[in-house]
Assembly symmetry: C2
């Protein structure tokens, strides 16, 4: 294997950094950074998901964490690469209690971006590979219990004779990914799922739904999809996979179970979680409660004048199950983001007369272009052939600090705008209001900043451009009548069905409902970066608020996001929970104050 | 990457062989082989599983197959290795209709062993990796069917409006592995499973059962076990995995379905298969019928005088579900192979008074030693770390011709004998009759030759050595009385339970039962090599009889074996069936005559 200049440069930096870290030499470490520098730490130094931006912030972080972290043994790992003056490469390291991986970008010989990621806790490694359990107990012992008997015993006692350490509300992809990691770490966990079967939250959606992200981005932890899995999985196929996943990962999923109420006792640092399981009340007493109820919170149902008198059917987009009964009927969809487009297309496909009401501008990117110009760089067959496995892709992805991320996305957006110029022209011609983000950074930044404001086009834009889906744009709803929707321009749309594709609130809405409004206010808004762009007010936080990391409420956590985030960030959340269960000190650095309540 | 002498040697041979093959130059090809030489072909040249042993046999094979096969493009692949004068390495090649892989052993610069394996049919490649289906149909189309609707439609029509091309009897690991491969190849298939759920044939066994082979040997095709799977999987865990596998692979498994009768119409080359599905009769008309009913055939139930008068419970080992009801009872187990040992241990564990009746000698190898000295070379974490993936291990394993295989196993047996000398001494001290195979080649050869005569020790041998399980050896059963078993030495064993662990017949017993005794005789005995050793009479066949390859009956196939064999050989069986479905000529070379009927 040829040692390149890039590899030598990374290796030299990592060696120098190791000397500084092992000597607890903060000035020495700072001297290795460029003036413009970012250090993103995923719980290895800070027991938090944090990005220190600039030398003063890095200095503060190291002063607070270096002694207790006891970092050591930084070693460059594998081949580095160089492009446009930026050298990138991998390293491994240890702390007093953990082993980690890192990814480094140098400008010249100074660090521009640094990622440090905890991979495992020493002494609590996953029992995989050479550490796997034996399974059979060779040698014969009277009255030993079989695997099945032990499993059944555990299941029957959990929640009565024994208490879970963690309760997760929601067994969608987020809850299941976290559950699988906690299972491997030996953290007793119960997942509460309102539906009868894992995957039902997918099964119950409208029938043409497919994932909008490609397969390479969507793997669950530990059990990747087979190599013939479709690029964009149909919803029922994903549902079956999740149901199977829960089973073979041996997760304690309580199905047909709703969480009614949760209260936290500060003195004992224990939750009381009241649930209804198959119609019967059960009370659980975990130390930690994780909301994995979907990245979006409760549906935002608007309150337009006159809604109560509408004689047709009206519901929030989250309640839209099937369009088949609306053949030949008139449907009005209020909203113009992902759900609005998907539901308009589903209604049109089923022979309804559909009008979309676009109140504000929307960012459109076709699924194909997003993949071609964006995602495929790290998540694709081509990436795999270049040696970028899912684990590596996740870390490279995570190594881009949020403070720079918009700059990484702008060239992608520019390429997509050129490639799809004709589609954009045709959409504008029918009056569709387009945007590309406040700063032209496109879809992913809108997702991270506000979780809304875009449509990943899988076909509905063509229907709008050619008029199959009718469009009323630049208007709002004035009132609902007995027979339809009156718009702000005075026009009226007759309707048999009104769908309010008006989005979702912050996830702490679930806390308000299940715990208390006070606790929801205490932890504050979930999601968003504080970018001071539309629907993401400042101040700048540098990381998504409250996700996968400690909140202002001990024992209260939020988990979720898309399949990629559910997979990758469940690693850090599971390690944080495991460390607490084992009594490993977890001093949290850099927990931000609450700036927004919802 | 350094090019070694070994790599150069393999490369030179493969180049020369390619010139001979592309020129259809049989003498030129033969000149490249050592006098002692073996060419094992897995359907690439012969549409058969065959081993040509020696130059004359290779010459005959090439004369019959070379023109039609049109082999070309042989290329050395990757690094070769050399040890003890034998150089080994990989190559790829093509034929007129397929792409293949091969593995080569040279002595000096001449070929000692050659493997040619068909990997895929040109034009009918699996839709995996870059070829995977798109899944979502981007663009919106009225009245299109969803994945679920299409799946449900296919399921509802298969067997009525549409006919499967293949019917597989049995949905254990063998049937499921084959079903998964046929699914990928687009061959319409129905699997018939008598039990209510896939995996039930495992669930119904005695509760302490675990796999006797380690996890690395046991993967199913396409979906390897997660990396924390136990070394020796408990039966219920495997059962759950198989049930999940059938589901996510979207196999058409008809559960609670028994095959009642099958007849073959020679004129139309079509089967009529009468099944009872959930209590209702259904008639299927496939072109091919695969028996995947377990490598062993129907139970061999002995007929001892007096059996009818026994007042306790008596059953064949295959009927032994649970030992829990025999606490404090006297149990006699007739037989001394795997099932006999497992059931004796299970009975002892449950507090029964157990006696094993050993009629003839048994080969014992501990599971740990078999792994340490044998299997782990190709199937283990260490092998994986050396780059030997499961696919590679399967081909290296297959590259050892059966004619040499006993020689490869003798050193393993020798090492095990030394390592476990104390156990063997103690077993002999209590009268246990040991053997190591007629030629000292041990367990795997007994498995391939006769499928019996051994116990993979997971603990019962200790119970025999220490007297917990009582032993009567060197005797046969004279008669059964009302209260027990009279042995050939005149002694009598009182019994509340008699288990006949007396083995199984050949798989063609299933053909006799479901089709006709005549057809069973026509295809003859299944399994065994013709090694002219105990219970494997000659003449030498060089491959297992009738397994995974054409039989004397058109449209009739046998599939199964252990998990490794089910995984690997399902590849060749599925390609043979696919080729026939697509009308690709499949001239079979070297189909042996039937020497034994059962």
């Amino acid at each position: 294997m040829e040692t390149t200049d890039a590899t030598r440069r990374i290796s030299a930096w990592v060696s120098a950094f190791n000397r500084a870290m092992e000597a607890r030499d903060i000035p020495g470490a700072l001297a290795l950074f460029d003036e413009a520098c970012y250090w993103r730490d995923l719980i290895a130094f800070t027991w938090n998901l944090t990005t220190a931006e600039g030398k003063p912030a890095i200095e503060s972080m190291l002063k607070a964490t270096l002694a207790e972290t006891a970092p050591n043994s930084f070693k460059a790992d594998g081949n580095a690469s160089e492009q446009d003056g930026v050298t990138e490469g991998w390293f491994t390291f240890e702390t007093g209690v953990s082993r980690g991986k890192g990814y480094l970008r140098l400008k010249g010989d100074k660090c521009w971006t640094l990622l440090t990621s905890m991979e495992e806790l020493k002494g609590f490694e996953e029992k995989k590979g050479r550490r796997r359990v034996f399974g059979a107990e060779h040698g014969i012992h009277r009255d030993r219990k079989s695997w099945l008997e032990r499993k059944q015993e555990e299941e029957s006692q959990l929640g009565t004779e024994t208490q879970p350490y963690v309760v997760v509300i929601g067994a969608g992809q987020g809850g299941l990914a976290l559950g699988a990691r906690l299972k491997r770490l030996g953290v007793p966990t119960v997942l509460l799922e309102a539906n009868a079967r894992p995957g039902d939250s997918w099964r119950k959606r409208y029938k043409s739904l497919c994932l909008h992200d490609p397969v390479w981005y969507d793997h669950m932890p530990y059990l990747p999809f087979p190599d013939d899995w479709p690029v964009y999985s149909p919803k029922d196929k994903i549902a079956d996979w999740l149901e199977m996943y829960a089973k073979v990962m041996e997760l304690n999923v309580w199905t047909s179970t709703t969480c009614e109420k949760a209260t936290f006792d500060e003195a004992s640092a224990t939750w009381t979680v009241e649930v209804t399981r198959d119609g019967r009340p059960v009370t659980l007493h975990p130390k930690h409660l994780v909301f994995a109820t979907g990245m979006s919170g409760l549906p935002n149902m608007p309150t337009y004048p006159g809604m109560e008198r509408f004689r047709g059917e009206q519901h929030h987009s989250s309640q839209h199950k099937s369009s088949e009964t609306f053949r030949g009927k008139r449907a009005v969809v209020i909203g113009s983001n992902n759900s609005a487009h998907d539901i308009c297309a589903d209604l049109w496909e089923n022979g309804a007369d559909v009008t979309m009401v676009q109140r504000t501008s929307t960012h459109i990117s076709t699924s194909d272009s997003l993949f071609r110009f964006g995602t495929s760089r790290l998540y694709s067959e081509a990436a795999l052939e270049r040696g970028i496995t899912t684990d590596k892709a996740d870390l490279i992805n995570a190594s881009i600090p949020y403070g720079l991320m918009h700059e990484f996305h702008m060239p992608t957006v520019k390429a997509i705008r050129e490639h799809d110029a004709e589609l954009y022209r045709r959409l504008e011609k029918v009056g569709f209001m387009l945007d590309f983000g406040d700063d032209g950074s496109g879809l992913h930044m809108k997702y991270m900043r506000r979780g809304s404001g875009y449509y990943i086009d899988v076909g509905a834009s063509e229907l709008i451009a050619n008029g199959d889906i009718k469009l009323k744009s630049g208007v709002d709803v004035r009132e609902i009548t007995e027979t339809g929707v009156v718009l702000s321009d005075g026009s009226e749309l007759a309707a048999d069905l009104i769908v309010y594709a008006t989005g979702y609130g912050s996830m702490n809405g679930w806390v308000a409902r299940l715990v208390s409004p006070d606790m929801a206010d205490k932890v504050g808004k979930v999601w968003g970066l504080g970018s001071d762009t539309t629907k993401d007010p400042g101040p700048w936080e540098g990381e998504p608020r409250n996700m996968w990391k400690p909140t202002q409420q001990e024992g209260l956590w939020f988990h979720g996001g898309n399949l990629h985030q559910s997979r990758h960030y469940s690693q850090y959340l599971s390690l944080q929970l495991k460390a607490r269960m084992e009594g490993i000190p977890t001093p949290v650095y850099g927990k931000p104050p609450v700036h927004h309540r919802a």
